[in-house]
């Protein structure tokens, strides 16, 4: 396909809409990760949680023929996995990183294993008639040119992602539990000395992160695609962790960082139609993550050097003035 067609594709309403759609499964787990990270218990298992929820949603919706039961089961599975992480970390005092890695590996292998048992296929769930979450066409808005295409016709998850960014923000900064959560993350001893139950707050934070990650997973298998594929999260849970730090550990910043990753991903999809090896194109979101983190680190370092340089200049000027007098 010629380049100008690709470029036209990029500067279109459909492309903008696809960015939102692709960002959604990063925004949701990133918000979850943000909550647990601010509570001081970083949830490395976002990836595995998404995978387990995506799988459970598909299977349950297929067997019950109910989308809603599928969603509910997917959420419960994700929250249960986080509860397991909370149990290992908070009750058994294991290292949360190691426990998280273990859960991720278990989720990868476990979903493939169960998929094979249920369908005889190790690759995907195409033989199951699983449910799909319908898209929402917003009345009136959908008829406005450009904006209608960009903003209307997404799945409930995309709208939820934006609504939840705001809700998480209110939760963290305006509610008692949110303040306790941030206090626990920053100075657990101080929080404990005021009678705040540190473990309980962290457990709640991990469960919330599991809930949000499960929405991200369900979004993948019941809206973005309508089947489960092995490893279908393909690193989104980890990109979500990167988005948290890139976003300065704030809800809005995390949202923006997640959308930037979505943009990189969508760009990759567009460029896929050029004569570039697809493996190279598929690398774009991950390379973008690394580049973004490097740029972030370099910028921080440059700021430090800049300040030092300014200080030296100022000193030199003062010294020059003094000797001129």
């Amino acid at each position: 396909m010629p380049l100008d067609v690709v470029l036209r594709g990029i500067f279109s309403a459909l492309f903008a809409a696809s960015v939102l759609r692709i960002s959604t499964p990063v925004i949701l787990p990133a918000l979850g990760g943000l909550i647990s990270d601010l509570a001081g218990s970083i949830n490395i298992a976002l990836e595995g949680t998404m995978l387990v929820s995506a799988f459970t949603g598909v299977v349950v919706s297929a067997y019950t023929q109910s989308v809603w039961l599928g969603l509910l089961a997917g959420i419960l599975a994700g929250v249960a996995l986080s509860a397991l992480l909370a149990f290992f970390h908070l009750s058994m005092n294991t290292n949360i990183i190691l426990a998280g890695i273990a859960l991720n590996i278990m989720a990868t292998g476990g979903t493939i294993f169960l998929l094979y048992i249920l369908t005889g296929d190790k690759g995907n769930s195409s033989s199951l008639a699983s449910g799909a979450v319908p898209v929402i066409n917003i009345p009136l808005l959908k008829d406005i040119p450009f904006f209608g295409t960009v903003l209307s016709g997404h799945s409930i998850f995309t709208y939820l992602a934006f609504l939840l960014t705001w809700l998480v923000s209110v939760f963290l900064y305006k509610t008692r539990l949110g303040v306790h959560l941030r206090a626990v993350g920053e100075n657990p001893e101080a929080a404990a000395s005021l009678g705040i139950n540190v473990k309980k707050v962290r457990a709640i934070a991990l469960l919330l992160s599991g809930f949000l990650a499960s929405l991200g997973g369900l979004n993948l298998s019941m809206a973005y695609l309508n089947i489960f594929q092995r490893d279908m999260t393909s690193g989104r849970g980890f990109i979500a962790l990167a988005a948290i730090y890139l976003g300065g550990r704030k809800p809005l910043g995390t949202l923006i960082a997640a959308i930037i990753f979505g943009l990189a991903d969508a760009l990759g999809n567009q460029l896929g139609s050029l004569k570039i090896p697809s493996q190279l194109v598929q690398m774009i979101p991950y390379v973008a993550t690394i580049v973004a983190l490097v740029v972030y680190a370099l910028r921080t370092q440059a700021q430090v050097r800049e300040r030092m340089h300014k200080f030296q200049q100022r000193e030199a000027e003062i010294a020059a003035k003094a000797s001129g007098d």
């Binding site: 209110v170 303040v179 920053e186 929080a191």
Partner: protein
């Protein structure tokens, strides 16, 4: 008069078998200021943690107003009107003063936090008790004195009738200490009761009505303050006579060892932490740096020891430049460093005592031969140093973290003093260690100086700076604001004025004496 608080036969045995409290009886009357004194490890903190519900006693009972109480957590103690101000402040740095004060019991409106109410309550409490704070300032940006007032307000907000202050003056200047004492007296005037944990006996004399002295988990005595002297209290605390004065033989000043010129340091956040600092340290002298913590002393020690880059300036040891190199180069140039934070910078906690004693020399003969470390030599050195420095441990194989704070510091002191330095940088060398270990470390510092080494002493403990130093420099907001060529002839109050930035010498005045 019946006691407000009565702790009877309190026993606390930790799971590892340490007996922290061994049948302690402790009682406090309503409206008194009761000092609780003792060396580190005497069991004061444990006793107070039990009273505050943070620890459960193994045995014994607590009576509040004559009624037995059982605290299962700090919440229970807070509900019963007992509040505690911890030694290491329990504040959330990124929260504002008001947010910290109401944390845990935030006022709500429509289910969401009511910031306006939090600010109002903070202002009201602040006025009522004369504890000056800025309600909207972020805790990270306020000074130590104000942080402490925030801590006290926190307990008052929770309705504390009894306030436990754990070594509250450890980080304060003399003036701030006076301000704190005034506030404590005001609290008592308004009907509160204060328990004051300290090991500064002069403060005990100044502020308290009664004193309980503890040693190795037991109460050694309860006395009316007016009947006690500093010497009698010290004897009760340590169990022998203590020499509160440092014996410092006169020494003639040697040659210039450390020369610092226009040293500046800018922090990662862009704050100028050191600004054009210049001074020299000579062989055979202790140069003391006085100042409220956070006025650049940490940065000074760390730029000189190679842990931080300097923005401008030069520094040399015996003519050899040391700035902006690295710690090993600095050490090989003849600098030893007792770091302020011994748990992070001074020791590798999980490594053994043997290993910690060679971290600055393992790469040199005789410790290193061929490709490997010669552990026979290492163990021999270690055994000698454990003996010589009185490190209390069964052997050198144990991890350093199994030692008490005082013994940890002895490990550092043993290593640093035996590296044969030309310059010794000692930052907060006796912080948090008991009277016996403090006496030892101070004696060793003076001995190094008497042997002709240059010693740069940085300490927040003003009496330590005054008793050990030959010359004193005061630092305020990253600058040298006062130079006192004769440490013996300056008063604590005078230094305090410089430490608070109320007085400062002119450049000419300082150059005249430097």
């Amino acid at each position: 008069m019946a006691a407000l608080i009565e702790m009877r036969e309190i026993v606390k045995i930790y799971p590892n078998g340490v007996v922290a409290n061994d049948g302690v009886n402790f009682s406090v009357d309503r409206g008194e200021i009761h000092a609780l004194v003792g060396e580190n490890g005497a069991g004061k903190s444990t006793l107070m943690k039990i009273l505050y519900g943070m620890e459960r006693p193994t045995g014994g009972e607590i009576l509040l107003d004559g009624q037995p109480v059982h605290f299962h957590s700090s919440n229970d103690a807070i509900a019963a009107g007992v509040g505690m101000v911890h030694q290491n402040f329990m504040l959330v740095p990124s929260f504002t003063v008001a947010e910290n004060i109401v944390l845990g019991q935030e006022p709500l409106r429509n289910g969401l936090l009511d910031q306006a109410e939090a600010l109002r309550v903070t202002r009201e409490l602040s006025q009522q008790y004369g504890l000056r704070v800025e309600p909207e300032a972020v805790v990270d940006s306020i000074n130590v004195g104000m942080r402490q007032r925030v801590e006290i307000l926190k307990t008052l907000y929770r309705g504390a009738q009894v306030l436990i202050l754990d070594e509250p003056t450890a980080v304060l200047t003399p003036q701030e200490t006076q301000e704190l004492f005034a506030a404590v007296r005001k609290l008592v005037d308004q009907g509160k009761t204060v328990i004051f944990i300290t090991h500064k006996l002069r403060e005990v004399k100044e502020i308290s009505n009664r004193v309980t002295v503890m040693r190795s988990g037991k109460v050694m005595g309860v006395v009316q303050t007016e009947d006690a002297t500093r010497e009698s209290l010290a004897r009760m605390m340590v169990g022998r006579d203590v020499f509160l004065q440092v014996n410092k033989p006169p020494v003639t000043r040697g040659k210039k060892v450390l020369e610092v010129h226009n040293l500046s340091y800018v922090s990662e956040t862009g704050r100028t932490m050191l600004h054009n600092v210049s001074f020299n340290v000579y062989g055979g002298e202790v140069l003391g740096i006085a100042g409220v913590e956070g006025n650049g002393q940490t940065e000074l020690a760390e730029t000189l020891s190679g842990l931080r880059p300097a923005a401008t300036g030069t520094a040399s040891v015996n003519g050899k430049a040391i700035l902006n190199t690295n710690p090993r180069t600095v050490r090989l140039s003849g600098v030893a460093h007792i770091p302020e934070d011994r748990l992070t910078n001074g020791l590798a906690l999980t490594a053994s005592i043997d290993e910690n004693l060679i971290v600055d020399r393992y790469f040199r003969p005789p410790f290193h031969r061929g490709l490997f470390i010669d552990y026979k030599v290492v163990e021999k050195q270690s055994a000698d140093l454990i003996q010589e420095y009185g490190i209390r441990t069964p052997n050198g194989k144990l991890p350093v973290k199994s030692l008490s704070g005082g013994n940890m510091q002895k490990v550092i002191v043993a290593r640093e003093f035996t590296s044969d330095p030309a310059l010794l940088i000692a930052a907060q060398p006796t912080r948090g260690i008991d009277v016996g270990a403090t006496e030892f470390v101070r004696d060793q510092l003076v001995k190094q100086r008497t042997d002709g080494k240059a010693v740069l002493l940085i300490s927040a403990d003003l009496s330590e700076v005054m008793s050990l130093s030959d010359r004193i420099i005061v630092m305020y907001e990253g600058e040298i604001t006062g130079v006192f060529p004769d440490a013996a002839s300056v008063s604590e109050e005078e230094l305090g004025l410089y430490m608070l930035g109320i007085k400062r010498q002119t450049k000419e005045e300082m150059e005249a004496v430097l």
